[in-house]
Symmetry: C2
DNA sequence: GGGTATTTGTCCGTATGTATT
DNA sequence: AAATACATACGGACAAATACC
């Protein structure tokens, strides 16, 4: 089947991993030992390990060894909250259900020119200045997501000055905009894609730089009562530790669904 | 920065790709030529190419060369249809909006024992026999998704015999179950994860076997008017050609959003 | 169909560097 | 400081896939 020798070695090791003979977190035998075991050269053994690395089954640590990857207990985020609920509230709710502690850095606020994507969503000409509020978000100390919200700059001039403050808006941006500008968020659209992380993202999330772990990118466009987009939020999540739930229509209470149950 | 030579070579090639100097689909110079260009050994050049491969920037074709990956015009699927709408209808609607032609194989119907995940979602004991209906789905000839729906076996005995037929249920399974068993689908929960493809999945989707392109796995649990799960649908989509939309609350009409606009 | 040139894939051996313990 | 283990880099040989004549 898998003719080349390095694939056969990889297949053998893979079976040991998937059968539980090699446990998550456990160290494999060293390259020199595996060379003896399989009667191959060290480079061929390394090719086998690279193959398993690409499959995200093992990871190598210089000076230490090769280890079976530990599955991260995933962060499960319900993205279908109430339409009038902002991101922070929605996320906070979901996360605290698991008894986990989220932590957000204070937002980094900038006036930026809208990129084509953000401009199109906000129905503004490309390059229009917008308010950008960027946050890094952790759960129990683990890097969880990078989030940037974009608002039309006019919002700040029309009475929503807090958007320009580098503080969390305690009452939530949704409530704040409703109170100050009379903008009610009546709905939103989530657009979910997957791509390779940028170098900065890989660094923040402590992912390998080679892109083997991808990231979700979620574009959320929120609409006010007139059907006008009032905000675009871009959130990036590593795919190795995040899962999402959307409830559509009438769905009974969660029963604390366990991610462990979700395997084909 | 990226000290090792192969990373420097990779970085140089990457800039050529991202600057557009090397166009999608275009062939890179051969390994032998790059060896001359960079004054490195062929193996070092190959390491650089492997790095770019892992980042999904290039792909190699034996006997032909190395090519800049072409971005696939993505299939955008709206997963938040009406709660009373089945998968086939929802997907069909979305896809035809783009003037694309979906094609589903006839379902492969089996009685299987529920795995732990499916059993938990259907609230059945693990190992309970369930009806499994599996389809391969294409758009314009491109492998698009693999879908398996699971129903309690009792449904067939109670009057919904068509569930056991290896034919598409023309009126849609949702309408059929409403007509025969009085089960109205009032809502569903989508649970979205990302993982490496199995060998069979990589084969079907024509993905590399090394898992560098991941797949979405969506677990959809549908509920009837009593809040009881009536179906679990597991759908697998390659992440290199699929994106998803969820509309929550009041969202204005699509305006045919272009995926090209969605880049950070 | 067969043969040849081209290009990537596999496998080996060796030497040295770097990270960790 | 020494030992261990993976990372980088080189050079060489042959195999396999593809394209072209």
């Amino acid at each position: 089947m898998a003719n080349p020798m390095y694939r056969q070695i990889a297949e053998d090791l893979r079976e040991q991993i998937e059968s539980g003979q090699l446990q998550p977190g456990q160290q494999l035998r060293t390259e020199l030992e595996l060379r003896e075991t399989y009667g191959a050269s060290r480079n061929t053994v390394r090719d086998a390990i690279k193959w398993l690395t690409s499959l995200r089954l093992v990871e190598t640590r210089p000076g230490q060894g090769t280890f079976v990857v530990k599955k991260i207990d995933p962060f499960v985020t319900t993205l279908s909250g109430e339409p009038g609920t902002g991101e922070s509230v929605t996320y906070h709710f979901q996360v605290s259900r698991h008894g986990r502690k989220p932590f957000n850095t204070d937002p980094q606020v900038e006036i930026q020119r809208a990129t084509s994507g953000v401009a199109a969503e906000l129905r503004l000409p490309e390059g229009t200045p917008v308010i950008s509020r960027h946050q890094r978000r952790f759960i129990d100390g683990t890097p969880w997501s990078l989030q940037t919200s974009f608002y039309p700059r006019g919002f700040a001039l029309q009475g929503a000055e807090k958007l320009l403050n580098a503080d969390n808006i305690e009452e939530g941006a949704v409530q704040y905009l409703a109170a100050t500008l009379g903008l009610k968020q009546v709905g939103y659209r989530d657009w979910i894609t997957v791509r390779a992380p940028s170098a900065a993202e890989a660094d923040f999330f402590r992912l390998a730089q080679d892109g083997r772990v991808a990231v979700f990118e979620n574009f959320r466009t929120a609409f006010d009562q007139t059907g006008t987009p009032m905000r675009v939020t871009v959130t990036v999540f590593p795919t190795d530790r995040n899962q999402f739930i959307f409830d559509i229509g009438d769905v009974p209470e969660p029963q604390v669904p366990s991610p462990e149950d979700h395997k084909s």
